[in-house]
Every structure is written in C-alpha cells, then in structure tokens.
C-alpha cells in the first residue's frame, strides 16, 4: 500500500511509515519504523553498531528499498519513484558516507568539480565554488592532493565539503566525526549547524554520546532495528541565513 500524501505532515522532509527492512528470513535490520523529520530540523540518529543506522540512511538515499512500509523524502515516495528521477533526487541529498566514497584517482578539487559537472555548472565556476567549500572545512590548501595523500580526518572533511557544496535540501551523514579529534569535531558540527541555518535539514548518525548531549538537538535512538527512544530538542531553530558558498539550493 502506498502512503497517501494526505497522511503526511506538510512540513515533513523525511517520513518513515511502518518501515521494515529484511535481508533474509533470519536477518531483519529495521522493524516497523515510523518517524518523521520536519524541514529545517537537525536530528541525531544513534545506537550501537548493528542497530540499523546505516540501513536507515541507505533507505533515505534509496540505495535499497524497504521490504515493507513507505519512505518519503522531500515529498517523494521512494518506492514509487521512477529510476530516471533518482539522480535528480540524489542531487538534493548531501550524503557524507562513513567510508567517504571519494574517487581516489581524482584530486580533492576534481572530486568536488565532478559534482558541479553533474549539477551542470560551467567549468569556470568550479574553482571558485570548490575553493569556498574546502575553505569551510579548512582544506583549501589541499585542493590538488589526492584522497590517499590525506589523513582519515581530512578525507572526512573533503566528503563533507562535497556533500555541502550544493546547499542540499537534506544532509545525511554517517559517522561524520568518527575520524576526527574533539576540536575538529566541533568545527565540523559547526559547519553542519551553518548548513542547517541556511535551510538544510540535517540527519547525523553517530555513536558519540558526548557530542549528542552537547548539541541539545533531537535524538532518535535505534536498538536492534527498533526505535527505542526519541528525545526532543532543547534549543530553538535559528533564522535562515545566506548560502555559505554563494550557491543556491
């Protein structure tokens, strides 16, 4: 059964409706998950390893389809979405992968430039925009380095710059601070905060309890594929600000 648009809250950007993801009869990653994230929200997704966080993020990017239930992102029901519409949908999601997924044979600049090519921006604008995005993660001096010449933390920041370069509708990050020291972690969270202030909805999956507690944001806790806890935010959302890299969403 497809989800009726009338059942959605109009401000929902991410909506999971009784979602179950089963890999085989013995392995169920998510059990009947229902939640929604409103436009402009900043949400942490937490839970132990194997709790189902990565599976949930993959469902948002439609890297996989749910076994049961519906996933609606940006008003699009992902189960009903045509394959030809998938690239445009993914261009609206800024995804930071746990394993970075940088193209190794390309320099840092080329990794970002490729996204801009995909977005159809003229080559003469690539350098300016890539520089702006890399400056935001303090890596503008590494434009011509290759990913394998960078540390894990630096690769993480390049992946974040790539995800944010387009001021996407939704930013989804899988353990984005996993390889970073505490100072850099705060710096990166600040970048996500700024993206959130510019209007992007942010969903971060992390183990870092301290980071979650300091943020005062909404927290969804998963355990063995079920939502076991949901904490409301303790801070108010700030007003919208202008794009950081001079790029419209």
């Amino acid at each position: 059964m497809l989800l009726s648009p009338l059942t959605l809250k109009c401000e929902s950007v991410i909506h999971f409706y009784h979602v179950t993801k089963r890999f085989d009869q013995y392995s169920t990653a998510l059990h009947d998950i229902t939640f929604h994230i409103e436009k402009g929200e900043f949400v942490f997704l937490t839970g132990a390893s194997g709790a189902g966080k990565s599976t949930l993020l993959k469902l948002i990017l439609r890297q996989m389809q749910p076994t049961e239930g519906q996933v609606v992102v940006g008003g699009r029901n992902l189960k009903a979405m045509k394959r030809s519409h998938l690239p445009a949908f993914r261009r609206e999601i800024g995804m930071v992968f746990q394993d970075f997924k940088l193209i190794e044979r390309m320099t840092v600049f080329e990794n970002l430039s490729f996204i801009l090519t995909v977005l159809g921006l003229p080559p003469k604008e690539h350098k300016k925009r890539a520089y702006g995005a890399l400056r935001a993660v303090s890596l503008h001096h590494k434009m011509n380095s290759y990913p394998l010449q960078l540390s894990g933390g630096e690769q993480q920041r390049v992946a974040i710059a790539r995800a944010l370069i387009n001021d996407p509708l939704v930013i989804v990050a899988d353990e984005p601070t996993g390889n970073l020291d505490p100072d850099l972690t705060q710096e990166i969270i600040q970048i996500f905060n700024e993206a959130n202030l510019r209007g992007s909805t942010v969903l971060i999956a992390t183990h870092d309890r301290e980071l979650i507690e300091q943020s005062g944001r909404r927290v969804i806790t998963l355990d063995h594929g079920r939502i076991t806890d949901e904490k409301a935010p303790v801070t108010q959302r700030a007003p919208r600000v202008e794009p950081l890299f001079g790029i419209g969403g």
């Binding site: 990017l61 439609r62 890297q63 996989m64 389809q65 394959r83 030809s84 519409h85 998938l86 690239p87 445009a88 949908f89 993914r90 261009r91 609206e92 999601i93 995804m95 992968f97 997924k101 940088l102 193209i103 044979r105 490729f114 996204i115 090519t117 995909v118 977005l119 159809g120 921006l121 003229p122 080559p123 790539r162």
Partner: protein
Amino acid sequence: MPPRDERLPSNTFSYFFREASRRMWVSKRTSFVAIAMIAISLLIVGGFLLVAENLGRAVAQAEGKSRVNIYLDIDATPQQTAAVDAWLASHSDFTDRRFVSKQVALARFKQYFANLSNIAGQLDENPFPASFECDVNPNVAQSPRFAAQAAELRAISGVEQVQFDWEWVETLRKLIRLVNLAGLVAGGVLAVAAAFTIANVIRLTMMLYREEIAIMRLVGATERMIRGPFLVEGLLQGLIGAALSIVLLLAAFLAGRHFLAPRNSLLWGFLFNGFLPWQKLLSLLAGGMLAGYLGSWISVRESGEEV
C-alpha cells in the same frame, strides 16, 4: 525528448571526451588490442575496396571507348588483310580503324606484361596475330544491326575472331561485384569481431571503474553521464582504428606502386591506378566509429542499473 533529469549539462561532452581519452591512456594495452582489431578489419575491407575501385576505373575507361578487335588468322595473307580493311572502310559504324601488325602486338605484350617479356623473347616465331582495332559508338555497339555486321565480318576469309570490349567489361563488372562482396563479407565478419573485442575492452574498463561508477550514482550522476565516457571511448577506439587502417592501406598502396608495379605493366597498372576516393575513406572512418560505438553500447547496455 529525455526526461528533465536525464538531460545533459552543456559542459558534459567535453567531460566525456576528457574522461574517455584518459581511460584509454590508463588502459593502453587493452585499448591497443581493440584499436588493432578495428584497424586489421578495416584494412582488409579497404584492400578489397581498393582493388574494386581500380577495376572499376578500368571499366569506366573501357566503357567510354567501346572498342572492337578483329583478329586475323596467324597466317593471313596480305590480300585477306586488305579485304578485311576494305570491308571495315565501307562500314561507317567501324570508325578510327587501326591496323596492329604481329610485331606491334608482340611489342605491346612485352610492354604490358614486363615480367613475361623474357619468355616472349625466347619463342622461335611471333605467336601474336595481326589485328584491326576499331572504335564503335557505344549506342550502336549493342544493336541488332551491329550484331549482324559482326557476324558478316566473322565470315570473311582470314578473320579468326571478332572480340568486343564490352564482353570483357561485363566480365570485369562481375569480378568487381565479386571483389566487393568478398570484401563486405570478410570485412563484416571482422568488423563484428572487432566490435565484440571493443565490447570486452569496455566491459573490462567498466569493471575497473565499478566503485567509481557506484559513487557517481550515489552523488546523483545520471546514467547518461556515467555511460557517456564509455560510449565515447568505443567511438574513439573505432575512429583511431579506422584512421590507422587508412594510413596502413595508403602506405601499402604507395609501397606496392613503387616496388611491385613495373612501369606500363597492364595488370599492376590497373591495380595501382589510384587510391580510394575521399567518400570511401570517410565511409571507412564512419564504419570504424560505428563498430566502436556498437561494441561499447553492447557492454554499457549489459551493465544494467541499480535498484
């Protein structure tokens, strides 16, 4: 018109060419195999085309003239020769009458078949008959009236044979059709083989880049954007292979003309008369590009898409 999401950004084609060239450079050896296969296939096709082209030129030359050769008996008397000459003079359809003596016939043989001139020199007596050569209007040549005149001519004492150019022209035409057909069949089979070689090369390249392709899909690249460089790679391999085949064919043609063909030799003169016209060279290039594109299209189509 493709859906909005599938339309390509304006700078994409330069990206395709850049990526395709880079990938070919990275996989030099496999690319070389694909290019060599295309080059060999088109070299064979080009070789057949070249032979057919030059035979065609010979036919075109002969058709314009419509010549009749009247060969006399080897021991024809001067009176018989004079009678034939008088008969030809009295029939206006046989124009530009020329007498070819036995000595001139032998000299021509030595000139046209230079390799065999020694053998001809060793003979005790001249085996070539004297003859008359006449030009005939091509429109008249195949009329019933002319056939009747030819029959009358054959009946004159001392006439051994009346031979028309258009008979061997027709034989030559059949030969050209055969050469063209053989070229097409051999070239077609080889071109298909070359296309599959390119398909395998592209398949290997796609395997090499499978992680990168997965990343491209995750960041929102369209299938056209992902597949474009592979298609262009096949196209480029085909184009380079075809260009290489033309260079090799030209080199072989020039070398053949220089080393094989003695001046004035009839056979070699025919075969090395001229190179392929630009239209056929363009067809070879287009054929190479088509085979390359087809090969890469096969692999790209097989590669499928994700969920």
